[in-house]
Amino acid sequence: MDSARHPAVDLAERTARASYGRLLAMLASRTRDIAAAEDALADAFAAAVAQWPRDGVPINPEGWLITVARRRIGRGSAHGVVVDRAAELLALLEAERNSAEPPPFRDERLALMFACTHPAIDRNVQAPLMLQTVLGLDANRIAAAFLVDGAAMGQRLVRAKRKIRDAGIAFAVPDPADASHRVEGVLAAVYAAFGTAWDDVLGADARLAGLREEAVFLARLLAELLPDEPEVLGLLALILHCEARRGARRDATGGFVPLHAQDPNRWSQPLLLEAEAALRRAATYGSPGRYQTEAAIQSLHAHQRMTGERFAPALARLYDVLASQAPTLGVVVARAVAYAEAGAPELALAQLEALTGTGSYQPWWAALARVAWLAGQPERAARAAETATGLSADPAIRSFLLSGGYRT
């Protein structure tokens, strides 16, 4: 079937993938109506698939799609309920038609990302919303990655889009005074999409690994759009470090390989170099932050593996810094493991025991298995590993824990 496809159909689909976010951002930035822009864009792509094979591919495919989508939005809102919005749109369309030259194709994706991560949007839906609008992922795919029911995720996304439209959330890059605070929201969404905890704790469950590639794309895009934000570079470095190791995290039979047993030759050199370059550039701004610290931890891990030197005390210190910057449960759990590896397993045990609300938090149990083992409590370690196994959704992690992977 595929060989019989018209090349124009392929081009329409490639354009869809490559330019979805840019086209959507441009359409929605004028009206703030993301849902209407999505519908219009979907229609435009459908029209492209139908027309391009017949009439030929336009010289400027993106421009063609935008024009068709805008016309669709204009028609849609003529029957709209809100006089203001329709009038506004008709005026915009008029201006568009009268402009002698095509407008410069402004990239509004950053503005779109700031709208999706506005503090007035429910925090839990910010990352999914960004993934859907910037990358065009469908709600079911996002729902699966965030372990949420597809219909529930769909509803949350619809509600968030409605809020952006009706509450008048601006499609704008915030003023410098607000920018650093607002950038945190964007970074948190990319971080959530990446689901980073996966490399921090031995045998911790990698829940969101399915959105890895998307998160890498978003992190690179952010670094391109905000080249002078050290934390953006820090997050990029962090994500690339983890991404570089992806191939080495599974053995030939699909088994889980922890960081300390990975073969550095199987790491991606280009990604590693890109990560290190981003981290070095971040450091030149002299403005530390949690993502830079996390990237530094991953960088140190990589150096440790490549040189054979042990940096355990330095890692424990970095985790102290991280815990002061971002005292999340995941960070404090990972810090305990770092302390245990640095020769302080008793202190690490006390740190883990001091935490509350960890009953069904898989990384806590996986960490306890490792820390108890290092503290000379093999039975407690085995029990913790069993609980961690029971809480894991990943078969490779389960067999790693059950086979005593926490001991080496």
């Binding site: 709209g80 006089v83 203001d84 509450a167 959330i169 601006a170 704008a172």
Partner: protein, 119 residues
């Protein structure tokens, strides 16, 4: 866009109205705030409200009017007043909300005004 800023005051803040030592700065703060909104040209309208104890609640149940003293006492925060402003977007509305004297002693709810339906 038009937004209504609903000013919710904690009880301690509300009680300042009746406290001779605190009433001066309390009203001074609100007068200055409302004045600043008016002067900037974004004010559409607004009012301070008498305290919740002065409120009366009406419901019609099975065609019968039920009138009661209210609203219910002991709610920690209560509506103390509101303004309607005309600003470009939510961020501009949030800027004004953050300056409200009750923002640090209660909360401000920001609600977009529903535009009139098409004829």
């Amino acid at each position: 866009m038009q937004y209504v800023l609903l000013f919710n005051e904690a009880k301690a803040e509300r009680d300042k109205r009746e406290d001779p030592a605190a009433a001066g700065p309390y009203w001074g703060g609100w007068t200055a705030y409302m004045g600043a909104i008016a002067q900037s040209g974004v004010m559409v309208g607004g009012n301070a409200l008498q305290p919740p104890e002065t409120g009366t609640v009406l419901r019609v149940e099975n065609g019968v009017r039920q009138v009661a003293d209210g609203p219910f006492a002991d709610t920690k925060e209560a509506l103390g007043g509101y303004v309607v402003i005309e600003v470009p977007d939510l961020d501009a509305a949030l800027e004004w909300a953050a300056k409200a004297p009750c923002a640090g002693a209660g909360s401000v709810e920001i609600r977009p005004v529903l535009p009139p339906p098409a004829a």
